[in-house]
């Protein structure tokens, strides 16, 4: 896949939809494109994070280690962004991300990510939207869990 194709793909991701093509080109050019084999780990829960990943092809599973064992909380696919929380809030990785097929990602370093956020407020809004959606999802799960817990 050439740089221009990557740029095209990035433009179809809501997060980057409003960014001018030349900036996306810089983003693509300065980001490493990595291929993970099935089951290879992208990020480990508890490690310090220095990069976020945009999935170009394939799927990844997001799991959380709990006292009760490993719980899969989401499956990510083409166009999804993973690993951004750790670099946004400077906290250790909150979940483990693992390739669940042959996976191609674009690795965006923390520095580049913040540069983009600073330059393009649209990105911040998109990220807020995404995070709010996840929060809502989590709340729903929590409600479900609580009602199940009180029911038993």
């Amino acid at each position: 896949m050439s740089l221009n194709e990557e740029v095209e793909l990035l433009r179809n991701i809501p997060l980057f939809a409003k960014i001018e093509p030349s900036k996306l080109k810089l983003l693509a050019f300065t980001s490493e494109r990595l291929i993970y084999q099935d089951d290879q780990v992208l990020v480990h829960q508890g490690d310090m994070g220095d990069a976020a990943f945009i999935i170009i092809d394939g799927t990844a599973s997001v799991t959380i280690d709990t006292d009760a064992g490993e719980i899969e909380v989401a499956i990510m696919g083409k166009g999804d962004v993973v690993g951004e929380i750790a670099i946004l809030c400077d906290v250790p990785r909150t979940a483990t991300v693992k390739a669940s097929s042959k996976l191609t990602v674009l690795k965006i370093t923390k520095e580049l990510f913040f540069r983009l956020v600073n330059e393009f407020p649209q990105i911040s809004i998109e990220i807020m939207r995404e995070l709010a959606a996840r929060l809502e999802r989590t709340n729903a799960q929590l409600r479900g869990a609580l009602s199940r817990g009180s029911g038993s």
Binding site: M1, S2, L3, N4, E6, S22, K25, L26, A28, F29, T30, E32, R33, L34, I35, Y36, Q37, Q40, L42, E111
Partner: protein, 885 residues
């Protein structure tokens, strides 16, 4: 050492100096004859004196006039040749003598440094000592050659001429030397002032080099603390000082010169006035006056030489004196103790007994106070205590690195103080807290522990042998070392192996003890070997290459990790330059930075018609770079990481592209074309993904690759080691030889996964030890700068264990290591040294637990002596220290 330079000269070169004097004396008659003969030619042969009749008789032979002229002229030519030969021979002899004495002096000085008491190095710095041996004594060599012969020759000449003048007329003779007494009185007085300044200058220059040395040693601190301005200001003060002194010296020197010249010019005044008066009154013939004037002219040359010599003499006196006074500190060891090989080296596996041991440093601080201690042979003793409590001092004294100020150390029946270094340096081992690593390979750094004397002659061919014989003869004449540095110095017996073949195995054991095996493995993979010298290793690496390729082929998940080199395939993970070269560059001709500009590379591109395409590609790349990076600040890290163009060059490329957009590529000058042409060489399709190298272009570059290899001129063949599936590449590392390809971009954790694969392959073939051995040949850089502090320390420990001493002294030797390795290394060393007496200082009580006996040193005194169990028991000073630490 001889207190003055003349004593030194007489002691070591009396015979040569006398020979030189004799030769000088012998040259006088010929010199005289060559001066006399022209007079004879003019007066007798040409018949200037009228009434000469031919044939004439000369020296019993009869000559016609022309014959006589030819004969005398020929004789004159012979004399000129003889004089020239004399001069040449005397000069060469003098030069040789000077060089020999210089080399002797330097050797003596260096040998003395090796015998200085260690405490002396706290007072003098490298920066002061080094220029003394290198620069300061250099002029002495030239002076020594002249020291007797020059004054003799010039003095003789002077006397001859003076005699001639006195014969002509005593009064005029007197007049000629009338001012000499004044010169001989005033000039030494003036010279004395210059000498005093000269001494100051020598000291000031030493201080300057000391300053430079200190700044180099502390360069990190200067950067880290923004200290450059202070350094520069202090350096300026030193320069000021030297400038003032030197300028003062010049002023005075030139004043002396002026005075000399003035006095020399004054004498003719007497000739004209007094001589003229005598000539007018008729007491002196005019001819005699002219002769005296001419003679006086000849006189001034040797007199000037003598005065000049006097100044050099004074200079040499100061230089010599100032150097040797620095090389005679109290406590310097006898040469015998250091370099004489004893008849036998006794074992020291006997109890150590110290009595009333005391050590006071130069400032009067008491480091050890009446320490009485008996350590049975084979005991393992831990010395605990606060730093500067005396435990470090005790280890230095016990290993004879520092003589005690009072008391004695007996090892069995031997008094430690009287044992030569050949015994203490072989049977006692000492490792300090930061071991020094020499600028050579790891292997040699280990073996240096067992290299005390040459043990077997090296093999030399006839040529090398004659060179060695000559060097040896010179070394003998000049009192230098006659040991052969190329001999095998390794004492295999001390190491406990039969010979060189068994050495690697023992070295591996040592690497295990100090945990260096894995480090050497990593270094070995990065290392290179000479396949001609080690064909067996090269062959096994090739088998590893095949096995690695098989492994990659066998598993599709692994297959993507490495893109192998193939002569007929374009490697998308390599740069265009690498694809074109298809080999490893050797030397500077085809490196990443130089290849694009190399004439042969340009010629190759021309011949396959790629030049214009490369320029077009370069334009496209430049346009992309300008588009991507033009908005970024010039210090942005992306430039160094990603850009093909440096931020400084970017604006120029920007205007270049605008020019091309307007006028096309054709009107470009050679410089611009070269600029654009160089860009595609750095392109890696798999990494940069610019989509510029389509399949057709790749095929054309492969054509260029073939053309490059086929037409490569003979003289460039050494500049590249081509890739070949079946051949070992001498210019590439072991790892690159095994990979035989490029690590693919974009494969997550590729390097780690490849590392595991290579290790599997090497273990499967039993090659790991071979790689470690290559790692042993890793050059550690200046003072081990390419190793970590902990690696250096481990080498220091292994170096001492190698020769199996009877007494091992470790002074905080593992403090540099991380906590886990500290205990591991201590345990491994103790296991290795089962029958050896071990004395180990440490700050950490948990390390002391592994020893037989624990001794506490506080305030220079032995304050507690017990077992490791006492550390845990409450109510003693061990426990107090352990709890405090």
């Amino acid at each position: 050492m001889e207190p003055t330079i003349y004593r030194f000269i007489l002691r070591y070169s009396k015979r040569e100096q006398i020979l030189l004097l004799i030769m000088t004396g012998l040259s006088f008659p010929f010199l005289y004859l060559s001066l006399d003969l022209p007079k004879q030619i003019i007066n007798d042969a040409l018949g200037a004196k009228s009434g000469k009749a031919f044939p004439t008789t000369w020296l019993g032979f009869e000559f016609e006039q022309l014959e006589f002229l030819w004969t005398l002229s020929f004789l004159f030519l012979v004399l000129v040749c003889i004089n020239g030969a004399f001069k040449y021979y005397v000069n060469v002899f003098r030069g040789q003598l000077g060089e020999r004495m210089l080399r002797r002096l330097r050797y003596i000085l260096f040998a003395r440094i090796l015998r200085f008491p260690l405490s002396h190095f706290r007072k003098v710095s490298q920066g002061e000592i080094i220029p003394m041996i290198t620069a300061e004594v250099e002029p002495l060599g030239g002076f020594i050659g002249d020291s007797l012969a020059l004054p003799a020759f010039q003095g003789g000449t002077l006397l001859t001429i003076l005699t001639f003048m006195f014969v002509q007329d005593p009064i005029l003779g007197l007049a000629a030397i009338a001012l000499y007494p004044i010169q001989m009185y005033i000039i030494p007085k003036l010279q004395a002032q210059v000498n005093a300044l000269g001494k100051q200058r020598v000291r000031a220059v030493r201080a300057l080099s000391d300053r430079i040395g200190e700044n180099i040693s502390g360069i990190g601190e200067i950067h880290a603390n923004d200290g450059a301005r202070l350094s520069l200001a202090r350096f300026t003060t030193r320069l000021d000082r030297i400038y003032d002194i030197r300028f003062e010296i010049y002023r005075r020197k030139f004043f002396i010169k002026f005075l000399n010249n003035f006095l020399a010019q004054l004498t003719p005044f007497f000739f004209y006035s007094i001589g003229g008066y005598l000539a007018i009154t008729g007491d002196l013939s005019l001819g005699a006056l002219v002769a005296v004037l001419a003679a006086y002219k000849d006189l001034s040359a040797p007199w000037k030489e003598l005065l000049n010599f006097y100044q050099r003499l004074q200079d040499a006196f100061i230089k010599y004196e100032q150097v040797i006074e620095q090389f005679d500190p109290p406590g310097t060891m006898d040469a015998e103790m250091q370099t004489t090989e004893p008849e036998s080296v006794p074992r020291l596996d006997t109890p150590i007994k110290t009595s009333n041991l005391g050590l006071v440093d130069d400032d009067g601080v008491v480091l050890l106070e009446s320490v009485g201690l008996t350590i049975p042979s084979g005991q393992k003793v831990a010395l605990l205590g606060p730093s500067s409590g005396g435990k470090e001092a005790l280890t230095l004294v016990l290993s004879r690195l520092q003589p005690p100020t009072s008391g004695q150390i007996a090892i069995g029946e031997h008094d430690l103080a009287s044992l030569p270094e050949a015994v203490t340096g072989r049977r006692v081992g000492y490792v300090g807290s930061s071991a020094y690593v020499f600028t050579t390979t790891i292997r040699e750094n280990l073996l240096i522990g067992a290299m005390h004397r040459p043990l077997s002659e090296p093999e030399r061919d006839d040529n090398a042998m004659s060179v060695w014989r000559k060097n040896l003869a010179d070394a003998r004449i000049t009192g230098n070392s006659t040991d052969d540095p190329d001999a095998d110095w390794v004492d295999y017996q001390a190491i406990g192996v039969a010979g060189p073949d068994a050495l690697p195995e023992r070295l591996m054991e040592l690497l295990d003890i100090v945990d260096l095996r894995d480090d050497c493995y990593v270094l070995g993979l990065r290392g290179t070997i000479d396949p001609v010298a080690r064909p067996d290793v090269a062959e096994r690496v090739l088998s590893a290459r095949r096995a690695f390729a098989e492994k990659l082929k066998g598993d599709p998940a692994l297959g993507d990790l490495v893109e192998p080199f193939a002569a007929d395939r374009y490697n998308t993970n390599a740069t265009v330059a690498e694809n074109l070269l298809f080999g490893t560059p050797v030397g500077a001709a085809f490196t990443a930075d130089t290849i694009a500009a190399h004439p042969y590379v340009r010629q190759t591109l021309d011949s396959v018609g790629l030049t214009d395409d490369f320029i077009k590609m370069g334009r496209e790349m430049a346009a992309t770079m300008v588009e991507l990076f033009a908005d970024l600040p010039s210090d942005h890290e992306f430039f160094s990481q990603f850009s093909f163009i440096s931020p400084d060059d970017l604006p120029e490329f920007q205007t270049l592209i605008q020019r091309i957009d307007r006028g096309g590529l054709d009107p470009l000058g050679e410089e611009d074309r070269a600029r654009l042409l160089s860009l595609p060489f750095k392109l890696i399709p798999a990494r940069h993904r610019l989509g510029m190298l389509d399949d057709a272009m790749q095929v054309r570059i492969l054509n260029a690759r073939r053309s490059f290899a086929e037409n490569l001129p003979e003289e460039l063949r050494v500049s590249v080691a081509f890739f070949s599936t079946a051949a070992y590449n001498a210019a590439a590392s072991l790892q690159d030889n095994i990979l035989f390809g490029k690590v693919a971009y974009g494969q997550a954790d590729a390097n780690a996964r490849i590392g595991v694969l290579i290790a599997e392959v090497l273990d499967g073939l039993g090659l790991r030890d071979t790689v470690i051995e290559v790692g042993l040949d890793f050059n550690v850089g200046i003072a081990g700068s390419r190793l970590s502090a902990s690696q250096r320390q481990r080498i220091g420990i292994a170096r001492v264990l190698l020769r199996r001493p009877d007494v091992l002294v470790f002074n905080d030797a593992v403090a540099m290591l991380d906590a886990a390795s500290q205990s591991r290394v201590v345990a491994a060393v103790l296991r290795q040294a089962k029958d050896t007496t071990v004395i180990w200082t440490t700050q950490r009580p948990e390390i002391a637990a592994a020893f037989d006996r624990v001794i506490m040193m506080q305030g220079g005194q032995l304050t507690a002596d017990g077992t490791p169990e006492d550390l845990k028991r409450e109510g003693n000073s061990f426990h107090a220290f352990a709890a405090g630490a």
